[in-house]
């Protein structure tokens, strides 16, 4: 991969099915490359130390806190952000359940929450409460957890 071109650091990222060439240092956190260099702002900054999960994206299908991943580690992998979760105009079943159950309050953490839940459901299509407790560790200061849990069960019972 071309790292430099006359002092310009380049990276190729595959985001939401598109290959995007950006000018960014390889040690830049993927979160900031996505937000600032690619321009997709649905992925949120909350803590920068992989505690809160607001920046969760899928890397090769695995829910990952993008603030803790360097761009160089993400190159060559399939990255999906909240903007790429829907299939065209058809929302992902988690997004649909979020609307049906009126989950978000301020909504800031919900991109990450939805990405974490979508990854969980791929692995465990019918998660138990214990599965949810173990897999979903995102912080939500508004406290939407009750609706998050209800919406997850609503997806799996649909």
């Amino acid at each position: 991969m071309d790292r430099t071109n006359q002092g310009i650091a380049m990276a190729n990222l595959n985001i939401n099915g598109k290959t995007i060439n950006i000018d960014v240092e390889p040690d830049t956190p993927l979160l900031w490359a996505i937000r600032e260099n690619v321009g997709l702002t649905g992925t949120k900054y909350g803590c920068g130390i992989a505690q809160c999960g607001a920046c969760t994206v899928h890397i090769d299908g695995v829910a990952t806190r993008s603030c803790g991943v360097a761009v160089s580690e993400a190159e060559g992998k399939q990255i999906t952000t909240i903007e790429g979760l829907a299939n065209g105009s058809a929302l992902h079943k988690v997004q649909q359940a979020w609307i049906a159950n009126d989950v978000p309050q301020c909504g800031y953490c919900q991109s990450g929450m939805i990405m974490a839940v979508a990854a969980l459901l791929k692995e465990k299509p019918k998660p138990t409460d214990a599965d949810i407790d173990e897999a979903i560790t995102n912080i939500c200061r508004c406290g939407t957890f009750q609706q998050v849990r209800e919406a997850i069960h609503a997806v799996t019972n649909a």
Partner: protein
């Protein structure tokens, strides 16, 4: 006045009307109007009045003056307007007027501030009138066209019908004509009993964009040519910026400028925020931390504890003669409680984007107080009101923090150094954690006295500690006293004490450390409710009485308080024993005009691992505009309240706040979330808030249950300091 008014809702705005009307009559405000000119929204659609714009396709645009930070006010206010407007709910959309427009139009939208759980309760009257006035004008316009009396026309779902002639039309078709009419001087509002949209648990209007990542929060603003700024303010409040070595970062990638911000902070401006932050982290900075660097949590605690032992104090509530009654009491009970600093830690760190030129200053940000943010822009830019504006965006959490404007001021000051270039200032989480407007720190000495028949005859509650208003809003002080200190303890009003005790004294020894306090969701009820409601359990125990029965005797004159308390007791099954290994606690309180209560069921392992199995929470807000959203606010308030109880607490070392991120200032996760069974029981006749009140009963209900489980009384927060955590 008939002065030109620009109703521009965004930068693409254009104006068709000229001598625009201020339709403030809809507000009951004394605003001039006249016309036939029409005020138009950005897309050219006519304003029927300040609250209602109708597009030709029948879309109803409802203006929302209050901020939306997750609490659902946007949807609730729209429901109230739409209820009176009789419009088709499926065609409702909303927009935020800007504070600059509000000023230009003599506050046509009233107060923008969104705090104190006031969003709906203090504007419900005039927004409903706005909807009703618009409805009357739309009907009149149809009647004029048909040359029939308006009284013969009916309306439902935006369709106006004249039954006798069989004529129908829609709001979209008559809006132009309606906008030219003189608003009716008086309109009759519906009895809430007749509500069809309000009072229903309708879905939020702002959800779809929040599940696709398309909602634009302040942090997401993009403007052409925009640069990004990261900032570090002196870690010790009161300290100053001494020097920094700019040369050390001058060559770093993307760095454009290093800016001193007043005499306390330094910001790096770069092409991206990541570059700005990375450079700032490498910038050598020398602080002059000053005298406050000697302050620690221990020194604050010592100073506060001195205030518990007599001495001068502001009296917030008193009756009878407490000193005499306690001196003659057959039995006395005494306990000292404390509550720490807490940070709001909104999920979206503070930010604002400013564009300054010598002729204009605009700011884009999430704010709980658009008008205060506007005032901050005026002050920092030095420009007059007609050359400034604030564009309000969705808030990634507020909880009281975004009612302050420190971050707005900083953004403008930085932008002023680079005229013509939009600057987005974003605080790192570390900056947010260490430069909060913290929940005030207090201690409290509770002293109760019983007569020989075990009747509670005296209660002295001495609070010692910080006043929020002393620092943030000195105008709110009354002869030096901060009335808000006595939230839930006042003799009357929307935060009244819920007990009648023959000899009562509640007083406050005000002591204000240098840490800047703030309005933290629930404000002063958080600690006051723990002090009162845990101590009530201590008093009940002292005379071997059931906590519910003990309270009931003191609440004969407080039927609404008692009603919510009995509702949670009934639902949790207080009269029957709990399941094996499970223990219960109760609490009730009044705050923000609403009556609330909670009952908790918990189990405790090894004395230190708490599992909260069940929370039952009751709220009587008078009127419930959207019960589904109230349930969500209540459930969420337990997450915020219990996070503060278990994990919160900001400590001071060398004058600075020690906690820097969520690793040291933790927040509850889903596995710790109890099921909250919410009882919404509006009794009518008053308007209470819902965003905050229930937060304060979370703590005492769980602490009382913890005592029931262990026999150990916890009197200080957070529980992590006592090695107690969630199971």
């Amino acid at each position: 006045m008939n002065k030109h008014v620009s109703p521009r809702m965004n930068r693409r705005a254009f104006v068709i009307g000229t001598a625009a009307i201020g339709t403030g009559l809809a507000l009951g405000l004394d605003l001039p109007f006249g016309g036939p000119a029409i005020v138009r929204a950005a897309d050219g659609s006519p304003e029927v009045n300040a609250w209602v714009v109708i597009r030709p396709d029948d879309t109803v645009v409802i203006r929302i003056a209050r901020s939306e930070m997750g609490q659902g006010t946007l949807t609730g206010l729209a429901q109230l307007v739409a209820e009176e407007l009789e419009c088709d709910w499926s065609k409702v959309t909303t927009e935020f007027p800007s504070p600059g427009q509000n000023v230009a139009r003599k506050r046509a939208w009233g107060d923008f501030s969104t705090g104190g759980s006031r969003g709906i309760r203090t504007s419900q009257d005039y927004v409903r009138k706005g909807g009703a006035t618009a409805r009357e004008m739309l009907i009149q316009a149809a009647a004029n066209e048909w040359k029939v009396p308006a009284s013969e026309c009916t309306v439902a779902d935006s369709v106006i019908t004249h039954k006798a002639s069989g004529k129908t039309t829609t709001y979209g078709k008559v809006a132009e004509a309606a906008a030219k009419l003189t608003p009716p001087a008086d309109v009759k509002l519906k009895d809430p009993k007749d509500w069809k949209l309000a009072g229903k648990g309708l879905k939020r209007l702002d959800t779809p964009d929040k599940v696709t990542g398309t909602t634009v929060y302040g942090i997401d603003v993009k403007l052409p040519g925009m640069l990004n700024a990261a900032i570090k303010d002196c870690p010790v409040t009161g300290g100053k910026l001494k020097s920094y070595d700019e040369a050390r970062i001058a060559g770093m990638k993307g760095v454009k400028k290093v800016v001193k911000v007043e005499d306390t902070a330094v910001a790096v401006v770069a092409d991206t925020w990541w570059h700005a932050k990375s450079a700032l982290d490498k910038l050598p900075i020398v602080w002059d931390e000053g005298e406050n660097a000697k302050v620690s949590s221990a020194s604050i605690a010592k100073w506060l504890s001195e205030g518990l032992e007599g001495g001068p104090a502001y009296v917030g509530n008193s009756n009878g003669d407490v000193n005499a009654a306690l001196a003659g009491a057959a039995k006395k009970v005494e306990a000292v409680y404390s509550y720490p600093y807490q940070n709001h830690a909104t999920m979206e760190p503070l930010n604002a984007t400013a564009l300054y030129t010598p002729d204009k200053c605009e700011v884009w940000c999430g704010t709980q107080n658009g008008e205060a943010a506007f005032a901050a822009v005026l002050e920092a830019s030095g420009l007059p009101a007609d050359k400034c504006d604030v564009h309000k965006l969705m808030l990634g959490g507020g909880f009281g923090r975004r009612g302050q404007t420190d971050y707005v001021r900083q953004a403008v000051l930085i932008a002023k150094e680079m005229p013509g270039t939009p600057i987005k200032l974003l605080w790192s989480r570390e900056e947010d954690m260490t430069h909060g407007r913290y929940h005030p720190v207090t201690q409290c000495k509770m002293t109760g006295g019983f007569d020989a028949d075990n009747n509670l005859i005296a209660l002295h509650m001495r609070i010692s500690g910080q006043s929020i208003q002393f620092t943030l809003r000195p105008a709110g002080l009354v002869n030096g006293m901060d009335p808000s200190t006595f939230q839930g303890l006042a003799p009357k009003g929307d935060a009244a004490f819920g007990y009648s005790i023959p000899n009562l004294l509640i007083d406050h020894s005000m002591r204000n450390p240098h840490i800047i306090p703030g309005f933290w969701r629930g404000v002063n009820v958080n600690h006051n409710a723990i002090y009162v409601e845990c101590f009530m359990d201590e008093l009940a125990l002292a005379v071997n009485q059931d906590p519910l029965e003990f309270r009931r005797k003191l609440m004969k004159n407080h039927p609404k308080n008692l009603a919510v308390l009995e509702a949670v007791a009934d639902k949790i099954g207080w009269s029957k024993p709990p399941p094996q290994g499970v223990h219960r606690g109760l609490a009730h309180y009044m705050g923000f005009g609403s009556y609330v209560a909670a009952a908790a069921e918990i189990s405790v392992t090894d004395g230190s691992k708490i599992k909260v199995h069940r929370i039952v929470a009751a709220t009587d807000p008078g009127y419930a505009v959207n019960p589904a959203q109230i349930e969500r606010q209540v459930a969420g308030s337990f997450v915020y309240g219990l996070s503060g109880l278990f994990y919160g607490g900001c400590t001071v070392k060398d004058g600075a706040i020690e906690q820097t991120n969520f690793d040291t200032y933790n927040s509850m996760r889903i596995n710790e979330m109890p099921k909250v069974e919410s009882i919404v029981m509006p009794s009518g006749g008053f308007w209470g808030g819902v965003g905050e009140p229930t937060i304060c009963v979370a703590g005492p209900a769980v602490l009382n249950a913890y005592f029931a489980a262990t026999g150990k009384r916890i009197r200080s927060v957070p529980l992590r300091d006592q090695n107690i955590t969630f199971a």
